[in-house]
């Protein structure tokens, strides 16, 4: 029995109060301040959302006092509910439409870009790598202004609304896919493709049969990210919108949120959140499955957190 296991076993055998006291007085154990701080942070972070969701089920019109429970603002109210209010349901559909377009275009484009930029050598390649990271750190209002001016004055054959918004979404999501896939590529290394080529595959075949399967976790992760970013996007969608018919959910929340909307707005936000979470959960489940199938161990969540956010991994 290892020392750690022995300690753990002893610990479990003691009564709870004693364990707590030991923890409290151990300077090298989990610091109590940090525990509380983290818990408070999580509460502060999540609870307002839960409250907003609670009020979306209100029977009455208020968004700040609890007034019963009903699906009034989701489906029942014949004029103002998410289902029946054309502005709200159109916004939801537009958000989903754009997110689907964004994922469909950005992921293949980004994966190809990542592979190409990683393997390619030369001055042009390094400049491209540099430039392709800039969208990541450009304030969205700059991108919104830039794209609006482009679509109105230069590429005016592209109408504002869904086409322009989709292009905008792809453009700023590309960098995310690039970073995620590139990091994974760099840690995979060229050995697998080399082995495939030693066995007689052409470079393209090696790519398709050896590399892409290994990249699947990164590809799935980037798809989830692109989806979430697109659903969440506000500034670019607002600037490139052609009117209320192409407003997305965040734009609708912004336009209506400053006035005194009904809880239908909360309902819209909740539905959007639910859809995003379900899709993310499905994709994440898929990712875990793929990882397990490849024999990778360790916490999937932890790896996802690292993949998602740390470009220096």
């Amino acid at each position: 029995m290892t020392a750690a296991a022995a300690t753990a076993e002893t610990r479990r055998a003691l009564p709870a109060a004693r364990r707590f006291r030991d923890w409290w007085s151990n300077p090298w154990g989990k610091p109590r301040f940090l525990v509380f701080f983290t818990l408070v942070y999580l509460v502060w972070s999540i609870v307002p959302i839960l409250i907003a969701i609670r009020f979306s089920f209100n029977e009455g019109r208020s968004r700040s006092t609890a007034q019963g429970w009903s699906f009034r603002w989701y489906t029942e109210d014949p004029d103002l509910s998410v289902l029946h209010d054309p502005d709200l349901s159109a916004a939801l559909l537009q958000s989903l439409r754009l997110a689907a377009l964004a994922v469909a275009i950005t992921v293949p484009l980004g994966v190809a870009l990542a592979i190409g930029l990683t393997r390619w050598r030369g001055r042009a390649a390094s400049t491209s790598r540099f430039v392709s990271l800039v969208p990541l750190v450009t304030p969205e209002i700059v991108m919104g202004v830039a794209l609006l001016l482009v679509f109105v004055h230069v590429l005016s054959f592209i109408p504002l609304g869904t086409p322009a918004q989709a292009i905008g979404h792809v453009t700023f999501s590309l960098a995310f896919v690039l970073i995620i896939v590139r990091s994974r590529l760099l840690s995979i290394g060229p050995e697998y493709e080399e082995a495939a080529q030693d066995l007689g595959a052409s470079p393209l075949q090696a790519l398709r049969l050896a590399l892409l399967p290994l990249l699947t976790p990164a590809i799935v992760a980037s798809a989830i990210i692109v989806f979430a970013i697109s659903m969440d996007d506000f500034v670019v969608s607002a600037f490139l919108s052609s009117g209320t018919t192409t407003d997305t959910v965040p734009v609708r929340i912004y336009s209506t949120g400053r006035t005194s909307p009904t809880p239908a707005l909360n309902a819209l936000a909740t539905v959007t959140l639910a859809i995003t979470l379900v899709i993310a959960a499905l994709a994440f489940g898929l990712w875990r499955f793929v990882r397990a199938a490849r024999g990778q161990t360790g916490s999937a969540i932890e790896e996802f957190a690292r993949v998602e956010t740390d470009p220096t991994r």
Partner: protein, 307 residues
């Protein structure tokens, strides 16, 4: 017997990589790089006299600096309009970043170092805000900060307030709170990722040498985390500089107007589009240092990995 490492190179293969990257590069060139030049063209262009719509000027030799001069003048002169907006933005962003760091670091540190069995669950809680739209989170706060919202209810009940206070009437504090709430999650995860990678053995060594937990933290962890702290600050500062919707939602007042609000006003609210474009350019110039730092650090780190 080591096999000499063979690069996946060769001219035909180079062409393959270039071909793969080309669609993406063309896309970025067309929809990212060119638009920046269009901003320049509009900012230094002229305006149609009838409709006041901008007429971009592409040739740098013909550029008209009127709009740009207007912005610079407003920025530099003592009572300048843009000057105090930029200053206010700088102050709000600085305070928000510091507050965010004060919140993000302890949380990230805790989860990275002491997460243990709960790590997965905690991370779930940290990742969740990524999937909740920023606007929805602000909406939640508007609900709470309204006159009859819970914030007032709680403060009245505790006794801190005697009468409900109007939190949405143009307070810097509400706007800063909103920004911190909105952007903190974006700082926590990168910090977590970094702190998680810090070699545990360094800390054990410090402990063996007699350091108290606080000393170990101060002398080992903190210096190591400096690059991550800087990167995290830059990650959230850059979007904050362009934020205009947070002041719009949490305050209707010109008192909390930020650079983003001015840009939005000129570009979408009027016929001074060249001025709006010039404002964007000035903003980007001022942010260029932050931008360059981050892009460079990322590229360098990736290069290090590719060895």
């Amino acid at each position: 017997m080591a096999k000499p490492e063979r690069r996946l190179g060769g001219r035909r293969r180079e062409a393959l990589w270039a071909a793969l990257a080309l669609p993406g590069i063309v896309w970025l060139a067309l929809f990212f790089v060119v638009p920046f030049y269009v901003i320049l063209g509009v900012a230094f262009g002229t305006v149609d006299p009838t409709f006041q719509t901008p007429r971009p000027t592409w040739n740098p030799l013909d550029w008209n600096t009127q709009a740009f001069d207007f912005v610079i003048d407003g920025l530099v002169s003592r009572g300048g309009v843009f000057r105090h907006v930029f200053l206010r933005t700088l102050v709000y962003v600085a305070i928000s970043v510091v507050l965010s760091l004060a919140i993000a670091y302890p949380v990230a540190y805790f989860v990275a170092r002491f997460g243990g069995r709960w790590k997965g669950l905690l991370l779930l809680g940290l990742i969740a805000p990524f999937f909740i739209s920023y606007l929805m989170r602000m909406l939640a706060w508007i609900n709470l900060l309204q006159d009859d919202g819970w914030v007032n209810d709680v403060l009245l009940w505790i006794g801190i307030l005697d009468a409900p206070r109007n939190w949405l009437d143009g307070r810097a504090s509400s706007v800063i709170l909103g920004m911190v709430y909105g952007y903190v999650p974006f700082m926590i995860l990168p910090l977590y990722a970094f702190l998680d990678r810090i070699d545990r053995s360094l800390l054990d060594a410090a402990r063996d040498l007699g350091a108290s937990p606080l000393q170990a933290f101060r002398l080992v962890t903190l210096p190591l985390s400096v690059p991550a702290i800087l990167a995290g600050c830059v990650i959230i500062a850059l979007p904050m500089f362009g934020d205009y919707y947070t002041p719009d939602l949490l305050s209707g007042s010109p008192k909390t107007s930020l650079v983003g609000n001015q840009i939005n006003l000129y570009i979408r609210g009027g016929q001074q589009i060249p001025v709006g474009a010039a404002l964007v350019i000035v903003l980007m110039l001022l942010l260029a240092f932050l931008l360059a730092y981050y892009v460079f650090a990322t590229a360098r780190a990736q290069r290090r990995l590719s060895g």
